[in-house]
Amino acid sequence: MVDLKVKLHDIEFKNPVTLASGTCGFARETAEFFEPGLLGGYFLKGTTLKNRDGNNYPRMAETPSGMLNAVGLQNKGIDYFIENIYPEIVDYDTQLVINVNGSTVEDYIALTEKVNELDKINAIELNISCPNVKEGGMAFGVSCPGAEMVTREVRKVYDKTLIVKLSPNVTDIAEIAKAVEGQGADAVSLVNTFLGMAIDAEKRQPLLSTITGGLSGPAIKPIALRMVWQVARAVKIPVVGIGGIMTAADAIEFMLAGASIVQVGTAIFKDPMIPVKIVEGIEDYLKRHNMLSATELIGALQE
């Protein structure tokens, strides 16, 4: 019997496969396809202090092997989550992580304090990397001082597992990772989407209402994999690997590069059952390679 359990800081995931924030709603949506307990965890939809309508339509453009989105953190706010969504998902037998977003440091702190009250939420993912909002978001995540400040202030009010989600739209992602590690982050997750753009040549118009948006899907996988490898070598805290994972082989590659767990994102739009297939595929891989535990994969790249 192989053991799929993996620990990230001090919380345990029953397997290394989780779903990425912004691609799995609040877990209820995927529960219409499969039992949520089959996955290691869910990084829930980016939540803000107050309701956000997000950006105007069109928010999506298909691109070669991927897509651009410009959703802009549409959500009903943390109070709505606590009152209406949390009670519905609290009994899911899986790790639930809230992805928190703010325009100001005060927003991040206020949000974190509210999340702190929720017993079943063992971790937050601090989103300092959303490319689709005008204020806050990525503005904090693209400089070491910005990333350090948010991490430091949230750390002061949060004792559970603090994961900081990094933007790939920087010169040196390892420097940002080290900066947040220095301020007490328990883990880093990467990457968020790459800032991109698409144009309708016939109409001579941008395809997104915001002109630019975040690129995701298998198109970004090799770059994301390289960044995870670089960051895993640069920091001592665990790394959550994200970026274009479509198959068990992709997930394993991220773990070999140093990720402790992975997030599957855009793949679920292509096939909502992919995450479950990835769990099965990792189990098969471990058996084939006579490995006893998924933890043996972490950073096991033979260079």
Partner: protein
């Protein structure tokens, strides 16, 4: 028990209805869940590297006895074109059933169903499902010309069929909103349903609103996931931005910001 499914279904028929519309039927080897008019399926387009996302199609007919789902696929772009090339006997990965249905008519209702382009399928499905006598169901279909219309003689037992074509080659000349059945006594209908191009639905909604007749439209916003997680297909409504894939695709026009 899951409510939504991802399955490889067998293509049992793929037939051209005219130059741009194809009837595609897929069969499941297990019992189909209930599927209602307005609901849709999301189909993976295989062997097409440049097509990453699935393509949504309204359900046209459901044969529960043989577990067959039918769609009318209109060629609109790369994805739909590729799909119409599918061989009978091959398999299609389909996510189903998605979205919500229409508000069904009451027993004594008189209804008008307006379809254009790829919006014909759910209108015909609803006509069939409405359970109303033929004299209470009017279907008004619009297209550019006779060649763009599909033969619907089978549907005469469910509804009175009316046609509009922009060149006048079939039915009345002009848009559906210029057709005598629409410009006539709209108030005689208890419910109006429409599915088709955005401009057509907006024009229908405007008149329905002006005459204060109940009206639902089925929207076709661009979507990525189809099950309410990507938040890309949003439509501004009186309840905020809603997902066309899960809150719709059917909306009451009074809830839309049209």
């Amino acid at each position: 028990m899951p409510k939504k499914f991802v399955k490889d279904l067998n293509v049992v028929e793929n037939r051209a209805l005219n130059a741009t519309n194809f009837l595609i039927k897929v069969q499941s080897d297990t019992k189909l869940p209930e599927i209602k008019p307005g609901q849709f399926v999301n189909i993976e387009i295989k062997e097409a590297e440049e097509i990453f996302l699935r393509r949504p199609f309204s359900v046209f007919e459901v044969d529960y006895e043989n577990n067959i789902i039918s769609m009318i696929v209109k060629i609109l772009g790369r994805g739909s074109r590729k799909l119409t090339e599918i061989a009978v006997g091959s398999r299609l990965s389909i996510v189903y059933p998605l979205g919500k249905t229409f508000t069904y008519p009451a027993v004594n209702d008189k209804i008008l169903l307006i379809g254009g382009g790829s919006g014909v399928a759910p209108m015909l499905f609803l006509a069939k499902e409405s359970g109303l006598p033929v004299e209470n169901v009017d279907i008004l279909l619009g297209a550019r010309s006779k060649e763009d219309h599909i033969n619907l003689n089978n549907y005469k037992k469910y509804a009175n069929l009316h046609y509009a074509s922009e060149d006048g080659s079939l039915g009345e000349k002009g848009f559906v909103t210029q057709h005598s059945i629409f410009t006539g006594n709209l108030k005689s209908y208890s419910k109006i349903y429409a599915c088709g191009p955005d401009g057509m639905m907006r024009a229908v909604a405007k008149e329905a609103k002006a005459t204060n007749v109940f009206c639902e439209v089925s929207l076709e916003n661009l979507m990525a996931c189809g099950f309410g997680v990507c938040l890309c297909c949003i439509e501004p409504t009186s309840k905020g931005n809603q997902c066309v894939c899960t809150d719709g695709p059917v909306f009451n026009i009074n809830d839309l910001k049209w």
